[in-house]
């Protein structure tokens, strides 16, 4: 998938490891880890994921990275590692039984090999390298640079990914950078509105319907990004591919779609054209970046 965000992919990969997802290893789940925080927003840091195992009295913070690490961010995490009880006292981590034995590890993960990163090496932070094989398929997750404080966790690495396994992509697809999925979600929502007889809507209503109760948790900055991408998309397609289907009057959008199979198929064909063209653009962009 072009233009997708490594960050969201990594989030899905590690969330999947802590749940029972068919055709994906449940390595963290086996040690009793459950997800405690997804994209947390706490005063000390903004961890992507926090997993806690009651059995091990241990939390694992995962930071999903593309290539670069930041000293400021690492220092924040080191403070948390030095005094992990902060997470318990703040009510962020709730699954610990023996609070006096509670320990915390931080790991960075990426699709790129950042095992030479000076900051990670200097601070002894484990790096979980997600290695892809042929045709982009993930084949192994290796632990590099340093060990975790829990041997049970160390022994689980490397994680070999079976040939017929694929990571989940749709477990947590909520990132404005995940453009293709976001655009597909918007187009699907237009049909959903039409089918349910809701022929007029605002951008806010559209986004709330896509994200349901997650919308309330998404930060203002991300919300703005979603609104902008959504509005730009609808403005563009109302003039082009979806001209007969959507229009805008006084900031209110209208969807006009007959409730029959033929109309839905015609609409589907137009949606496929939009996705194809988006893929092409994202591919060009990626090539330019390379």
């Amino acid at each position: 998938m072009e233009g997708s965000s490594d960050h969201t992919r990594l989030m899905n990969i590690f969330l999947g490891l802590s749940m029972n997802i068919p055709k994906w290893p449940n390595t963290l789940k086996q040690l009793g880890y459950e997800v405690e925080i997804i994209e947390g927003d706490i005063p000390e840091a903004n961890p992507d994921l926090i997993f806690t195992s009651r059995r091990l009295d241990h939390s694992l913070i995962i930071e999903c990275k593309s290539k670069n690490t930041e000293e400021k961010q690492i220092n924040k995490y080191l403070q948390l590692k030095f005094d992990p009880s902060l997470l318990i006292k703040r009510g962020i981590v709730n699954k610990v039984i023996h609070q006096h034995r509670y320990m915390l590890d931080i790991a960075f993960t990426s699709f790129f090999d950042i095992s030479h990163d000076k900051l990670l090496i200097k601070n002894g932070i484990p790096f979980l390298y997600v290695i892809k094989g042929n045709s982009n398929k993930i084949k192994i997750i290796e632990k590099r640079i340093s060990d975790f404080t829990k041997n049970e966790l160390n022994r689980k690495f490397p994680i070999q990914i079976p040939e017929d396994s694929r990571p989940p992509y749709l477990l947590y697809p909520f990132d404005p950078k995940e453009k293709e999925i976001f655009v597909i979600s918007i187009l699907t929502e237009l049909l959903n509105f039409s089918l349910k007889g809701k022929s007029t809507f605002t951008m806010e209503e559209l986004l709330k319907s896509i994200f349901k109760n997650i919308w309330e948790v998404i930060g203002d900055h991300k919300k703005k990004e979603f609104r902008n991408i959504g509005t730009r998309l609808l403005e563009k397609i109302k003039k082009e591919e979806l001209k007969p289907y959507i229009k805008k009057e006084d900031n209110v959008w209208h969807v006009i779609l007959k409730k029959d199979n033929k109309s839905y198929q015609a609409f589907q064909n137009k949606c496929n054209v939009i996705i194809k063209s988006l893929k092409e653009k994202l591919k060009q962009k990626t090539l330019k970046e390379i």
Partner: protein
């Protein structure tokens, strides 16, 4: 016939069951205008029967008459060609309505399919997949017949299949042995999908003979309406329990103070027959057309790995899938109807691979 309550209705239906049974037993056929009792289970996401008035279209018209019993209604449904059928609708269980009728088979089959076919009508058939029918067959007092129907060619455009269509009706109790023998054939093993069963069920000293199709139609004759009602209710309860298992796995995102919590997990659909062309396969499955009735947009991550986000046209519920040539991870969101995935799996068994299975992580194999 006008009925005031269940007692009157069931007396009336039992008379018809007994008369038709005797006639077939003595003469091997029914008289002109004499019809068997037929019951249909309809899965509903709409609690109010009056919603049928709203979903009526140019193609059919619905008149609803109440009885003394608030969960029993008489429905006159007419097609645009003025052909009319009378249904006695039991909505005691709001999720599964039972339509009883003694009108003509062809007419009522058409009407039921039109009712269920309304886009966004929130009604669906129960989809009695192969191992479900097999269990019912094994639990019955006597197995009378087994229907097998595989119709790949009706749905998938590829003509290079070894077997495009396979239909067979086996009368008698040796059906399972015959099916097991056929299963040894590499050409036929993907085609052995049960589409109907014939059973005899004894109730006290009475009995009912039922022909049950995979889309929830019961043709009944015999001496006891209670035996018939028991067969229908038993299937409805078993089906509802499967539906609940599936709906427990729905993905729910819960808001917490600092974050989001994910509950539920995707379901897994597996095939033994590998999908050769994933793009063509998905074009059929999410084309909006019967039998799947799913609309979706797909995108490929790898040549053999695709994502689909879509909508079930029966009820407007959203769904998403991650698809490979041998398995599908199916995500059912919060509040979505589990019948979407049972319809998909049952019809994949009938039109693609009889060995299609559904698994949940917590409950193991579901279908």
């Amino acid at each position: 016939m006008k009925v005031k309550n269940r007692k009157e209705l069931f007396e009336h239906l039992e008379n018809i069951m007994a008369r038709t049974y005797e006639k077939i037993k003595e003469e091997g056929k029914l008289e002109y205008e004499q019809n068997l009792l037929k019951s249909f289970i309809i899965e509903s996401n709409e609690p109010n029967l009056n919603s049928l008035k709203q979903s009526q279209s140019k193609e059919f018209k619905v008149d609803i008459f109440p009885t003394e019993d608030k969960t029993l209604h008489v429905l006159n449904i007419s097609l645009k060609e003025k052909k009319k059928a009378v249904f006695y609708v039991d909505s005691f269980n709001p999720r599964f309505w039972i339509f009883h009728t003694t009108s003509k088979s062809i007419l009522v089959n058409t009407i039921i399919k039109k009712l269920v076919g309304v886009i966004g009508g929130k009604l669906d058939h129960p989809w009695l997949y192969t191992n479900f029918l097999d269990t019912i067959r094994k639990e019955s007092t006597q197995v009378r017949g087994t229907g097998i129907q595989y119709k790949y060619g009706d749905v998938f455009p590829d003509e290079n299949q070894e077997v495009e269509e396979f239909s067979m009706r086996i009368w008698g109790s040796m059906a399972q042995n015959i099916i097991e023998q056929l299963r040894r054939s590499s050409q036929l093993k993907h085609t052995l999908t049960l589409s109907s069963i014939g059973i005899k069920q004894v109730y006290n000293n009475d009995f009912v003979i039922e022909d049950i199709t995979y889309w929830g139609r019961f043709l009944a004759r015999g001496t006891s309406i209670q035996a018939h009602l028991e067969v229908v209710e038993n299937i409805q309860k078993k089906y509802q329990s499967i539906l609940s298992q599936i709906e427990k796995e729905r993905i729910t995102y819960k808001k917490r103070e600092h974050s989001i919590k994910i509950e539920g997990r995707p379901l897994l659909i597996t095939f033994k027959k590998k999908i050769e062309d994933l793009n063509k396969f998905l074009e059929v499955v999410v084309s909006s057309k019967i039998p799947f009735r799913l609309w979706g947009i797909k995108t490929f991550i790898e040549k053999d790995f695709a994502l689909v986000v879509g909508i079930d046209l029966h009820n407007g519920d959203k769904f998403s899938m991650e698809v490979t040539p041998v398995w599908i991870r199916f995500y059912l969101p919060e509040g979505a109807c589990g019948n979407t995935v049972i319809r998909l799996v049952t019809n994949l068994q009938k039109y693609y691979d009889a060995d299609t299975k559904l698994e949940g992580i917590e409950n193991g194999r579901i279908i």
